[in-house]
């Protein structure tokens, strides 16, 4: 079961990652060139997935769009980990102290805000762009990782090897880095995969309402938004980007499940 998840998930996510990487070198058709005369063509030999309302090749758009989705989600996860993990480690190291309390209350505060709404507000304040989408998604990743790291770290702090390190005269920072962090990486990898897939969904949602990466940068969510009024006579325009999102997210989720089972079968299932 877990191996199968790993293989299917790895393959699906791998395909899209490769497509994104390949798009740097080669795409079937330049997505910055419009070809209004050939707009909204169904799939054909020349355009495997058809063309969109500007005559662009949808396969090429999906490949370049994968780049946007992956970049946004990856950096957002990076922000979440980069800030959340140290916060979680610090909270665990000062368990029960004011720092712990402050960090956890801060987490609760962020969680109390409806995420989509805040994302919309952020983009309303600073304008719609991929960077602001990243920030909006990233902010909500911080408490996720902070909480996960803290709970993982807390159970580690109760272990005797931490006591041994304390007896060896090591301080909280050193222990957090040397002992705690390496032992929560499994948790972080698994959660990171899941947040990555959620990030892709969130990016699609934001760019669907026009708040993600701006044209001419292709993005899956905007492709869906653009196709929305045409779905009744050009279903291919909505079908393929939707499938791209679905399969990537599915792939990442399966990968996350597989990794979880592989890295630690006893790990609590968080979702």
């Amino acid at each position: 079961m877990s191996l199968r998840n790993l293989i299917i998930g790895g393959t699906l996510s791998g395909v899209f990652l490769l497509a994104a990487l390949l798009s740097f070198l080669w795409v079937p058709q330049d997505v910055t060139q419009l070809d209004i005369a050939n707009k909204i063509r169904p799939p054909s030999a020349g355009h495997w997935l058809g063309t969109d309302h500007y005559g662009r090749d949808i396969l090429s758009m999906i490949m370049v769009g994968a780049r946007t989705s992956i970049a946004v989600a990856l950096v957002a996860v990076g922000i979440g980990m980069g800030l959340g993990v140290p916060l979680g480690l610090a909270a665990a190291a000062r368990h029960g102290g004011w720092l712990d309390e402050a960090i956890m209350r801060g987490n609760d505060l962020v969680f109390a805000f409806p995420s989509l709404l805040i994302a919309i507000m952020i983009t309303a304040i600073f304008g719609a762009s991929a960077v602001n989408a990243i920030i909006a998604i990233g902010i909500f990743n911080i408490p996720v990782f902070a909480r996960l790291t803290r709970s993982g770290a807390l159970s580690l702090w109760r272990r005797d090897f931490i006591l041994a390190a304390q007896v060896a005269g090591k301080g909280a920072v050193r222990i957090s880095v040397e002992h705690i962090l390496p032992n929560v990486t499994n948790l972080l990898i698994v959660q990171g995969t899941i947040q990555f897939s959620l990030g892709i969904l969130a990016e699609a949602g934001l760019s669907y309402v026009g708040l993600g990466a701006q044209p001419p940068t292709p993005s899956w969510g905007r492709m869906l938004a653009d196709s929305q009024t045409m779905v009744s006579f050009a279903p291919h325009m909505a079908l393929f980007p939707g499938m791209a999102i679905l399969l990537t997210v599915l792939g990442l989720n399966l990968l996350g499940d597989g990794l979880r089972d592989m890295l630690d079968p006893r790990l609590r299932r968080l979702r």
Binding site: L116, I245, R271
Partner: protein
């Protein structure tokens, strides 16, 4: 118990105060002048100034914050800049759609997730389990607005079983009103149900591994009896947490779905208000949603205590 309440209440108020400050600060730096938006391209400077004065936008930020917060405490959310009607009335009107939609979606989600999760857990590793897990994987991965688009295409435009959108209004009767909320509720419920079913399953599997389930089996309970009488209630705690989170999400997160189905709900109000720089509406609705989240979390905490006697003791 009373002390617990007071403590939680204090934390609740504190969260709200901090949140109100954060919201106000955020919106202070939003660029865009609501007066200019309302009066358009040919507006003259003196006209704009007159309108700003009427809207109270010429006051200092602190004065405006105080006016906003002190009004909110007594239920006065101020007057919308663009609609020129009390925000409280507008919100109340929108809640008539958003709240039932959230409840409807949550009911659907729970009604699907519980049996599916229990079924999968009790048949762990077998066909039913694999099927439920596969379907829920899809449900989690599908973008709900895309799913909504497909549903409109099939059920409203092709089959014409449902209206493509819009809200019939409660005055049209409960039946038509609920009918117009059905497709949106399904679109919202599908991913939620998938997540909930997965949580239900794993929580149940975890509690099925507990020693007390083995004890129950040793008493002579069958596998099913042990699951229903002992594992299920223990598995409810993580499930409750998720339900609480989902309710909060459904209140606010329906923005996109409300747009797809053109429902006059809270999410769309905020979205319009942000585009129109109707800051007072944005502030108030966001605040209201934060309030809802905090209250729901509070209720979930109380529910924990009802489920778990260990917490009751501390409480």
């Amino acid at each position: 118990m009373l002390q617990f309440f007071l403590k939680r209440l204090m934390a609740l108020v504190l969260t709200l105060v901090v949140a109100s400050g954060v919201i106000f600060l955020c919106l202070e730096i939003v660029p865009g002048d609501p007066a200019l938006y309302m009066l358009g391209l040919n507006a003259q400077e003196d006209t704009l100034a007159a309108l700003r004065a009427e809207l109270g936008l010429d006051m200092g930020p602190l004065a405006r914050y105080w006016a906003w917060v002190s009004g909110m405490v007594v239920g006065d959310f101020g007057i919308s800049y663009t609609y020129r009607t009390p925000v409280a009335e507008m919100v109340a009107e929108r809640l008539k759609v958003s709240l039932p939609l959230a409840v409807y979606a949550l009911t659907l989600s729970t009604a699907i997730a519980f049996p599916a999760g229990i079924w999968a857990a009790s048949r762990r590793g077998r066909g039913a389990d694999i099927a439920v897990m596969g379907v829920t994987q899809l449900g989690v991965a599908i973008p709900n607005f895309w799913f909504a688009m497909l549903m409109v295409l099939v059920f409203a435009i092709q089959l014409r079983w449902f209206n493509a959108g819009g809200f019939a209004g409660w005055e049209a009767g409960v039946g038509p009103a609920l009918k117009s909320l059905t497709l949106p509720a399904i679109a919202l419920a599908l991913p939620q149900a998938s997540i909930l079913a997965r949580v239900m399953r794993s929580a149940l599997l975890e509690s099925l591994n507990e020693d007390y389930v083995r004890t129950a089996r040793a008493k002579g309970l069958s596998r099913g009896q042990a699951l229903w009488r002992h594992a299920l209630r223990n598995a409810l705690i993580p499930v409750l947490t998720i339900i609480g989170l989902q309710f909060a999400f459904l209140m606010a997160g329906a923005i996109i779905i409300e747009n797809v189905f053109y429902l006059p709900g809270l999410g769309r109000l905020v979205f319009q208000a942000i585009s129109a720089r109707d800051l007072i509406v944005v502030e108030s609705v966001v605040m209201l949603l934060v309030f809802a989240v905090v209250v729901v979390n509070f209720l979930v905490d109380i529910a924990y205590a009802l489920v778990d006697p260990r917490l009751r003791g501390q409480v």
